[in-house]
Point group: C2
Chain length 520, copies 2
């Protein structure tokens, strides 16, 4: 069964009804796509650092904080908070005595629930779990028919719809692409409205300015209710650190808004190794740890107990061209190592994604993305942004790659399940029944278990060569193109209280009317 | 530098000379391609089975051997050996008392050296090492210009040349494709001659009949010298078990030839889960363990101390079409689990490869192959057959995919190196030098280390979009096609004593003349 068929068959299975307008509306409101529960790992984490290396990196990170320090630019309130906490503040440089940042981090929760407007889509972030969210930030989109072009709000809505329809995607994400046809100072409103109305999965808030973070909170108060937002986490937003060792006032302003509202932030360096960090893995891990210790500690100075995720977006550079590279072994080693370090901090961990440098959803994209997705699962990542749709180093959101990656996410679910060693798993009856030289296709154990035994791609080609050739000899991009079309055609909007929908629309319209367009 | 440029620059760097015939011959004999040393892992193995699951599987495998037993068909000598060893033999069914097979396995070496005619290419199989060998067995080949077609001896020679030119490939393999234009009873001679003369990397012997195994040994005696072959392992050959639980006389006949000559065999079930084994991971591991225990034990009955590799070629089935699937999570779980089991046996382990089901070297091929290659490294595999060139479930050897996979094998080398926590690795001087808000491109540490810091693909596209578009917007297959052409154009045969070359040719001609062609 395809995702689309699953979607329309859905949980409530009201496919194919007909009737008047009222019946159609009733049917529409009952349709629901099936989304897998977030991954709860039943496999261990892969660890590349031995005890000595961990010790060295943790000690060095404290040395960096104490001797070199970090910069909080354009943010006198932050400097004051650090001073009060016992840091040594000179100008905008904050030097943090050994052990202080780690101590401050201890008040951040080890795990938290991010609520969705459909409670069945709530996600638990932390522990042994892995929550998957789509690509974030590309200014361009690509599809097989239209090629590469600037993204629009129409593209944005399409990607939200694809995310909603993707069985293995738990989270609607944030800036799935930049709607470049909407003013910079207003596009966050349209983006949030799309996540809130076209999907019922959890989503991210705006971080491009503190007032846009406030708008995000206010829109959530309409969607969830003011009391609910005061008591629960309903957004997880992405706060980037300006590596090396710099926290700019705008990003920190957004963090402050969210932390005060008890909303979650991913506090994440964005590092191209060799440019924003040393060319070595251990050196990069040291810097990343110093940065996230300072960032998480600051979130706790703003509000003790505010939920956070420790992020590590780290890739390497092609020293020939200066281009960032993806799906590389250095990135894997850093992702594994940072997983160990973050677990010792006792905090949720964000890293990895379906990363690639390729311009096309071709074999390079496949190799690089698979390397990166596998690494994310095995490294113990708790929140994986960019899990699907990422192309060309993140400059492009690809329609076809979105469904390719989203399909592979299903394989991660199965792999995370580990090995069933129950009596059914052991299958001794089957081995006895079949015996030497027999085959298992017809045996009782196979008949009872084959439907759930193997993960099956909903996209890839498994047909005999002749059938495949007769059907046009399509490559993965062509198969994905057809799947994108089917998903968008069969998409149905999840039900939402019309009054809330109206209030959200009114809010967006009023906000937009309150200020002139700005494109910078 | 491309592989081809590396190849011609080579270790002895005599590129671009000119002169008469003698000078050219001298030059040719000095040219050598650079091949990386086999991988010595500096990262741990990933383990999915807990102690209880391991115990259950090992106990169940002994139960299978004791209660169900295995079949040695058309092989009275094998039955006699088993009887003498204490097994319960009824007809061709061999029931092995609990613990006996494992005890017999104990005389097989934990690791061994496979010698190449160029001693720099010798490989150590076992321990923490990983040796990479190309695809084995496809009757078809595919390239971007000619499409899919039956393989010929010309294709075979081309793949041996590509393997020789591939920096990250340690082993020349065996049947890199089936030369279908040569008689079945003679093609092993042409294949061995190609491996022996067109490459100087280690290779595999023929297993399709006991007399062809004997021919393989005799040709090695010409290449290496009779005394050397008597004392050293110069071939590693692939012995498949007919799963479930059946050892046919022809394959065992080849094994017997090799074991008696102290040559290594991979003893390997070939399993499509759901058809030749149960649909569950634990059940499949149980059967595979029972099979390899019986197979390895038998090799030790033939000759105590004969070198072997425990194989596990396991994939799953698409229950809709019956087609085997590749790069799936079930295959990964089995590969990880079998790694644990084989390490407890103290024997070398063969599994994984660049597996895919795709008909084309497209994104599906990339995802599936990357999943499978990563798994092989992390699972502790010691010998990886099919590491490059595999397409369409192994029916096709793909020229383009060969160089794509071979390029990715470089990433495995880097990942296996783990994390350098030395003073250089820690890079504290760099972090101090650069400080908050700076960048690392020009700092002393980067200047000293950037050349070796990051693995760099010799194939993938890292260029800016505009440059890439101006150069034709090529996908990975097009890039690979160009690389194949360059490698084959710049290929130079490695030097070989002309007398040995003549004796090998004479041997092949005499053997061929001694029997009529057979195509069955």
């Amino acid at each position: 069964m395809t995702d689309a068929a699953e979607a329309t068959a859905g949980r409530t299975g009201r496919r194919g009804r007909s009737g008047g307008g009222a019946a159609r509306r009733a049917e529409r409101s009952a349709v629901s796509v099936e989304t897998a529960r977030y991954i709860a790992r039943n496999i261990p984490d892969f660890e590349v650092l031995d005890a000595a290396a961990l010790e060295v990196i943790e000690t060095n990170a404290e040395t960096v904080l104490e001797e070199i320090g970090v910069v909080f630019s354009d943010n006198p309130e932050a400097l004051e908070l650090w001073r009060q906490a016992g840091a040594n503040v000179t100008g905008d440089r904050v030097r943090i005595p050994r052990g202080l940042a780690r101590k401050l981090c201890a008040t951040a929760p080890a795990r938290f629930t991010q609520h969705a407007r459909n409670p069945e889509r709530n996600v638990e972030i932390g522990g042994r779990n892995l929550v998957l969210a789509p690509v974030y930030g590309p200014p361009f989109v690509r599809d097989a028919s239209g090629g590469r072009r600037y993204a629009t709000i129409e593209d944005f809505r399409n990607f939200v719809k694809l995310g909603y329809m993707s069985r293995w995607l738990h989270h609607s994400g944030g800036t799935v692409c930049e709607p470049t046809d909407v003013a910079v100072n207003k596009r966050h409103l349209d983006m949030l409205l799309a996540h809130m109305t076209l999907s019922d999965k959890p989503f991210m808030g705006s971080v491009t300015a503190p007032e846009r973070a406030r708008d995000s909170v206010e829109m959530c108060e309409i969607l969830f209710g003011k009391d609910f937002v005061a008591e629960n986490t309903v957004m997880t937003s992405l706060i980037n650190i300006n590596s090396p060792l710099t926290f700019d006032g705008i990003m920190m302003g957004a963090l402050e808004v969210y932390a005060r509202a008890n909303q979650a932030c991913i506090i994440s360096p964005f590092i191209v190794g060799g440019a924003m960090a040393p060319v070595t893995v251990a050196g990069t891990l040291t810097q990343v740890l110093a940065e996230v210790l300072a960032g998480v500690a600051y979130s706790q100075l703003v509000r003790e107990g505010a939920p956070v995720i420790v992020g590590a977006f780290v890739t390497s550079i092609d020293m020939n061209s200066g281009a960032p590279t993806f799906g590389t072994p250095e990135a894997s080693l850093i992702t594994y190592g940072m997983g160990q370090i973050v677990r010792r901090l006792g905090l949720p961990y964000r890293s990895a994604g379906g990363f690639c440098g390729s311009k096309l959803p071709d074999a390079q994209a496949g190799y690089e993305s698979a390397n990166s997705l596998q690494t994310g699962l095995m490294a113990g990542v708790n929140f994986m942004l960019h899990a699907c749709g990422w192309l060309e180093g993140g400059l492009v959101a690809s329609y076809e790659k979105f469904v390719m990656d989203a399909d592979q996410l299903g394989a991660l679910h199965q792999l995370a399940g580990g090995v069933d060693a129950s009596t059914t798993g052991q299958a001794m009856d089957a081995i006895r029944e079949v015996g030497p030289g027999g085959h298992y296709l017809g045996c009782a154990h196979t008949q009872e278990n084959f439907k759930t035994a193997f993960w099956r791609s909903g996209l890839f080609d498994y047909k005999p060569f002749e059938t495949w050739a007769e059907e046009g000899g399509r490559d993965t991009e062509a198969l994905a193109r057809a799947k994108v079309a089917t998903l968008l055609e069969t998409y149905r909007q999840p039900p939402l209280d019309p009054e809330i929908a109206q209030r959200l629309t009114d809010y967006v319209e009023a906000k937009k009317a309150s200020m002139p367009d700005s494109f910078s």
